[in-house]
């Protein structure tokens, strides 16, 4: 029986065509991912090389420490994980390199990468997209007439007299389709691993498990539709409508809802506050600025103003005020963003499409929270460099004495954390519930 079912299924031209198409799309998506990784790596190599030259050149011509540090930039790199090629996420928009001076940070960290917004809107055709959008369509196309087709072409009676259990017969038909699609999916991963030199680790494992579960979810949903025993056309229309709702409408709706519920106007006020914090100090009493600066860093009380019109100590104190006085706004903004992020994760638990996308991004370290961590790390990095150089500027030590070789771009060493229950449970529960309902439906149908 089983070989016959297999033969019948793969003899169809539509099936072969659809599988070939998805395989091609999958391979294209992997190549797009590879291209993305290569571009990022080139940029990182460039920044490393450039930083060295940039420091050497400036050190050669500038002998005043305060002025030198006005120009020098230090890079922190959040190199993309190879998995990012499978789910590019927000990485196309948020830069993987932050190159900062020790002047105030708020004005420096909100630049996005150069990008054609039209491309951002269309999004990347990465493997994540192929899995989240295209696999369900394939599943729908393969299963919507699982039962109804036999009824419509009149073969159901033939099967009915020949097989012992009709339910088992349906189950066989379904499993043939599932095996084929899982084969396609695993083939894509088998190509991806050598092509992108993906390390075999927990994150990759979680990525694959999540894909398998997501595909299982759509099989369950399709099977449920089949278990209602309606006509082929009804099933096709209903399943596609479900796909539209789950993959397009509900996520778009959630997006509107959250954007309205948690607007982020603080971004701008941070910027304004930062400008005021710094610029106003030029026209203010120097004492006032210095007192605030000493309050923040008591260890620098021993450095005092020289009494000249211009003093680097005063200048960097003013720069510091730009950050200090916008800190509240900056924190409020980060809090708002995190709130929104949490809310969307909560809602995503009920939406398999959204959940899978967000988890893919998390595993590939291409999500918003990953970028927020990077910004936090940048803040710490900036503070560390700042505190290293402050005494040297204030004492105006000789530029030539510093070991400039040590300032190479630093790398963020972050590993994705794999939180199995969060990844697996929402999908697993949905699948189990839908399957139970389908089985009950079929029992009632007295096949």
């Amino acid at each position: 029986m089983y070989p016959l079912i297999v033969k019948q299924f793969i003899r169809s031209k539509t099936v072969v065509l659809a599988v070939v198409l998805v395989l091609i799309m999958g391979v294209i998506s992997l190549l797009i991912g590879k291209q993305f990784l290569t571009n990022q790596e080139t940029a990182i190599v460039e920044v490393t090389q450039h930083q060295q030259e940039h420091i050497e050149r400036n050190v050669r011509v500038i002998d005043e420490f305060g002025l030198l540090l006005y120009y020098l930039r230090f890079a922190l790199v959040d190199a993309p994980d190879p998995l990012a090629a499978l789910s590019i996420g927000q990485r196309d928009m948020n830069p993987s390199i932050q190159s900062v001076t020790i002047r105030n940070l708020e004005g420096q960290q909100y630049d996005t990468d150069l990008n054609n917004p039209t491309n951002l809107q269309s999004g990347n055709l990465d493997l994540g997209f192929v899995i989240i959008y295209l696999f369900p369509l394939l599943i729908i196309a393969f299963t919507y007439d699982l039962f109804s087709q036999e009824e419509e072409t009149g073969t159901w009676q033939l099967v009915a007299v020949q097989s012992t259990s009709l339910r088992r017969y349906l189950w066989y038909k379904l499993s043939v389709r599932a095996l084929l699609l899982y084969g396609v999916l695993l083939t894509l991963f088998a190509i991806a691993i050598p092509l992108l030199s993906l390390p075999i680790n927990k994150a990759l494992g979680a990525f694959i498990v999540l894909s398998l579960l997501y595909v299982a979810f759509w099989f369950a949903l399709s099977f449920w539709m089949v278990s209602l025993q309606r006509s082929s056309n009804f099933n096709a229309v209903a399943l596609l409508s479900l796909w539209v709702v789950l993959a397009i409408l509900l996520p778009a709706f959630t997006n509107n809802f959250l954007a309205n519920k948690y607007p982020v106007p603080e971004a701008l006020s941070t910027m304004v506050k930062q400008r005021d914090g710094y610029h106003e100090k030029w026209d203010m009493n120097k004492e006032m600025t210095m007192n605030k600066f000493y309050a923040h860093y008591p260890q620098y009380r021993k450095y005092t103003l020289s009494g000249d019109d211009f003093d680097w100590l005063w200048y960097y104190a003013m720069q510091q005020m730009g950050d200090d006085e916008s800190q509240q706004q900056s924190e409020a903004m980060r809090k708002k963003i995190r709130q929104r992020e949490r809310a969307s994760r909560g809602l995503a638990l009920a939406l398999p499409t959204l959940h899978t996308q967000l988890q893919f991004n998390d595993l590939a370290r291409t999500s918003l929270s990953n970028h927020l961590t990077f910004l936090d790390q940048t803040r710490a990095f900036h503070e560390r460099i700042r505190l290293y150089f402050y005494p040297k500027i204030f004492e105006n030590v000789s530029v030539k004495e510093e070991n400039w070789q040590q300032f190479r771009p630093e790398y963020l060493l972050e590993k994705p954390t794999v939180n199995w229950p969060t990844i697996v449970l929402p999908l697993l529960i949905t699948i189990v519930v839908i399957s139970i309902v389908s089985v009950v439906n079929l029992r009632k149908a007295k096949l």
């Binding site: 571009n39 054609n116 055709l125 082929s232 778009a252 610029h279 959204l354």
Partner: protein
């Protein structure tokens, strides 16, 4: 006779429960999208108008200071939200909304919504455009996939033919009936949207009405293209494959091709990284002149020129303020470099977009997408217009500050001793610029308009040529 045929098709469709349900869902969605979109637009407009005004007030009341300090203090420009933008958010989520304008520096337009949003934004936003572009075609597919096969099964096609009805008439009857139903959904929404246009706002240029009618007319054209395409396919495709073929086409047209095209465009015309872009500008400026650094060759050439012109030996003896001149010259040099580099990037983006516009000849969805956001004022060209205007405004007021310094800060006078006040600040008008006109938008979108017309003509041609070959059995 045609009227009778249309009436019959309509009656059949209206009695179909599936259509009743999907049409009412679509109605509710469109209503929500329009109302929510309108509300969001109003909120954003208010917000931006408020901050823009308060920022300008800060500029006016910044007290007395040196004009160059004021240029550093700077101003902000906020992107206006055009009247039709609530119908199509276009690229708005992916573009910055405000820019800080200060001396010496071309800042980026910052703070896009997508930037502080997670992967969810990529699923899109529920706007009227999403429904018009993707869901109405889906409804058309549901309306038409069995429009022939059902009648073949029931044998009514044979009957009608036996009564002397031409197949052409039957075909057109189905086309018009389907189109009529689509318009039945679309026109009330269009009227609602028209009534919701912001008539009070002063930014409602006289061109908005034409813009709105072009917008609706082009959508009506898009729907007609889709109806013709679907009816043709269901007339000729094998009945069991019709639905799958149509859905397959829809997915390729609305989901796969747009992504594939932009990824291909990015590959063909690669974008440099932000870092590279800034670096090139810096390198080029450095090799030339920097307003704050008088050791450069260019600067000394400028100095020698001035000394010769005024026949004096040192800058202190000049009747004009040397720092002011040096600063403005540096400014203009940076501007030159920036313009050149920026237009390179703009050119790359435009080439990328052009590819996707040409793809409109293969995929009508892409054609309407470009047209829709252009008319809604949310496309790349509108953004460039804003960025350009803000940059020009920056240059103008920085120049005004430098000029004042050049003319009025007496030689030998200390930076800290020269101050100007409120009259000076008030002489800088608030930021404002004209939005691109409808004629300009339509002219720049000729690829997409031609693509839609091309589709219509080709489909009509095929219909006229082959309609008689439609099988009635």
């Amino acid at each position: 006779m045609l009227k009778l045929l249309i009436k019959k098709e309509l009656l059949i469709a209206i009695r179909d429960i599936r259509l009743q349900v999907s049409a009412s869902i679509l109605m509710v969605l469109m209503l929500t999208a329009i109302l929510v979109g309108r509300q969001g637009q109003q909120r954003i407009r208010q917000e931006r108008a408020q901050v823009q005004a308060s920022m300008y007030r800060q500029w006016l009341n910044q007290g007395s200071k040196h004009p160059h300090s004021a240029a550093h203090f700077g101003q902000f420009a906020f992107k206006p939200k055009p009247a039709l933008s609530f119908l199509d958010a276009g690229l708005d989520d992916y573009l910055g909304t405000s820019v800080f304008l200060e001396a010496h520096k071309q800042n980026e337009v910052l703070f896009s919504a997508a930037q502080d949003s997670n992967g969810m934004t990529r699923f899109g936003e529920l706007t009227a455009a999403l429904i018009f572009q993707m869901l109405i075609p889906l409804l058309i597919i549901f309306l038409t996939f069995d429009i022939f096969s059902k009648e073949r099964e029931e044998g009514t096609l044979k009957l009608a033919y036996a009564q002397g009805l031409s197949i052409w008439k039957l075909f057109m009857g189905k086309v018009w009936a389907t189109y009529f139903m689509v318009l039945l959904l679309f026109i009330p929404m269009a009227i609602l949207a028209y009534l919701m246009l912001d008539w009070q706002s002063d930014s409602l240029a006289p061109g908005v009405t034409t813009q709105f009618f072009s917008f609706t007319a082009l959508y009506a054209l898009y729907f007609l293209v889709f109806v013709l395409l679907c009816v043709l396919i269901s007339a000729f495709a094998k009945s069991e494959f019709t639905l799958l073929t149509l859905l397959g086409l829809w997915i390729v047209a609305c989901i796969v091709l747009p992504k594939a095209t932009t990824n291909l465009a990015d590959k063909l015309y690669p974008t440099p990284s932000q870092f590279e872009f800034r670096q090139t500008i810096k390198e080029k400026v450095k090799n030339g002149i920097d307003g704050h650094n008088s050791s450069d060759v260019r600067l000394s050439a400028l100095k020698n020129g001035l000394l010769r012109q005024y026949k004096v030996a040192t800058v202190e003896e000049l009747p004009v303020n040397w720092d002011g001149i040096a600063m403005q010259t540096g400014e203009e040099y940076t501007d030159q470099v920036y313009d050149k580099e920026f237009s390179k990037i703009k050119h790359i983006f435009q080439q990328q977009n052009r590819l996707s516009e040409w793809t409109g000849f293969v995929d009508p969805y892409l054609a309407i997408r470009h047209l829709s956001m252009a008319l809604a004022g949310t496309d790349f060209e509108h953004h460039v217009a804003f960025a350009r205007a803000a940059e020009n405004y920056r240059r103008a007021f920085v120049k005004q500050m430098n000029k004042d310094m050049e003319l009025h800060q007496k030689p030998g006078m200390d930076y800290g001793d020269y101050k100007v006040g409120n009259a000076m600040w008030a002489s800088v008008a608030p930021f404002d610029y004209p939005l691109p006109t409808t004629a300009h938008i339509l002219a720049s979108q000729w690829h997409s308009i031609t693509a839609l017309v091309f589709w219509l003509l080709v489909l009509l041609g095929i219909s006229i040529r082959y309609a008689n070959k439609i099988s009635i059995l």
